[in-house]
Symmetry: C2
């Protein structure tokens, strides 16, 4: 029943060999990105392919020094991009009106549909990929390193390279947790207990609770991994960057 | 060199047969969605599968009466969802801090990576798909029809069904238009001319210019398809909905 094997065997790869990615494979995976659906066929995204060690060295701390940023041969930063389309419009005597929140959402959507194509096509070439949400956390300094003009903002990034080790598949909640039939069916307390039961009973959760000295997995999320104060800080800084890059004009 | 054929043969399908989608195929394509990378494995999205004609009838005008919404056997609305994770946290005595813009962006990203998996796996089962960005344009009334609680907002939708006709592949800009090496290289006027040359010289563009009585394709975008006033209207209404659904708390 399962058709596209890459979808079902996907795991994040965080350790890479030094083997470079052949240019024709890199081109193929980028072309895969460009084939995704996109709003009005306007292609309001850019993919920035960074391989230079000196640039990766500047980007690594902005991705919280996750070692794969330096190690992977290729880092691709996906950007929402209304700049290129706007240049074309003005050059043709048309006044673009895309410097607002609607088109940030459209462009982010298009960039992520493209990103998932890139990820799957890379994996089909035996490459490993790790998605870096951290492109959003430090969007302003990343924009500076990558020399993004107004109208362009990072929305995500991936490391790509040949895997140095094999990772296990990450467990997911049961499908019923994320699927609703016809309309949204709210969760009763016993639903929540049932949906998280397997995750909470796992060896990994037991190990994490011991390591963190906390009584349950939820508190590891809220008190260790993604804390309220940090969330607010990065929410504000990303929104400020969004304004500064010209995606929130009125 | 091309590996995943569905990526390179993808086209939007806007006309469907009456053949229903077998339940096991529907489950498979939804499971494909759940396998995508997501922030912290928190799965901050929901997929709402609507098949009831009475509900599709209410949703169709909110998607500007695009005929495929009524015609397709299945409509899947993708939502950013911090509600389910928040319920779990509170039930475990943990205080979630995800009701802010950072987590809207993270959840939207995760929902779209999942959506692209669903699209490709559906196509691998000979289904046709059309992505509906209109889920963002009328997010508030769609949320009402789908009974979305606070912490859940539509970010996109797809129609899925067996194709009634065959569509041609849509042209894209040359790959160099959307790819930058190392850092962003800004476009000179002659770059813009070159990158759009083929699109502007196409038979389709000639036809569109005649139909619209406008001298170029750019002005068809800015004066017909996506007009400044409409863009601002929908930008504001989506941002208002974002606040109302609790994704912009401080």
């Amino acid at each position: 029943m399962r058709e596209i094997s890459e979808i079902f065997t996907h795991r994040s790869v965080r350790s890479y060999t030094t083997q470079p990615i052949p240019e024709e494979i890199l081109t193929d995976i980028l072309e895969a990105g460009a084939r995704a659906s996109n709003t009005g066929n306007m292609q309001l995204y850019s993919m920035i392919v960074t391989t230079l060690p000196s640039l990766k060295e500047r980007l690594a701390p902005l991705h919280f020094n996750q070692p794969m940023v330096r190690q992977a041969p290729v880092l691709i930063t996906f950007c929402a991009d209304i700049h290129r389309f706007g240049l074309w419009c003005r050059q043709r005597g048309a006044e673009p009106g895309y410097d607002n929140f609607l088109w940030f959402v459209n462009a982010l959507t298009d960039a992520m549909l493209a990103a998932q194509n890139v990820i799957l096509e890379a994996e089909a070439h035996s490459l490993g990929v790790c998605f870096l949400g951290t492109a959003v956390y430090n969007a302003a300094p990343i924009a500076e390193v990558l020399q993004l003009p107004a109208g362009v903002i990072p929305v995500g990034a991936i490391c790509v390279g040949y895997p140095a080790d094999e990772q296990p598949l990450t467990p997911r909640l049961p499908l019923e947790a994320v699927v609703h039939r016809e309309t949204y069916r709210d969760y009763a307390p016993q639903d929540i207990d049932r949906l998280w039961a397997e995750r909470e009973a796992s060896d990994e959760t037991r190990r994490l609770k011991e390591e963190n000295g906390l009584p349950n997995l939820a508190r590891i999320f809220t008190e260790r991994r993604y804390k309220h104060g940090d969330n607010l800080h990065f929410a504000r800084s990303y929104f400020d960057t969004l304004r500064a890059q010209g995606f929130f004009n009125q």
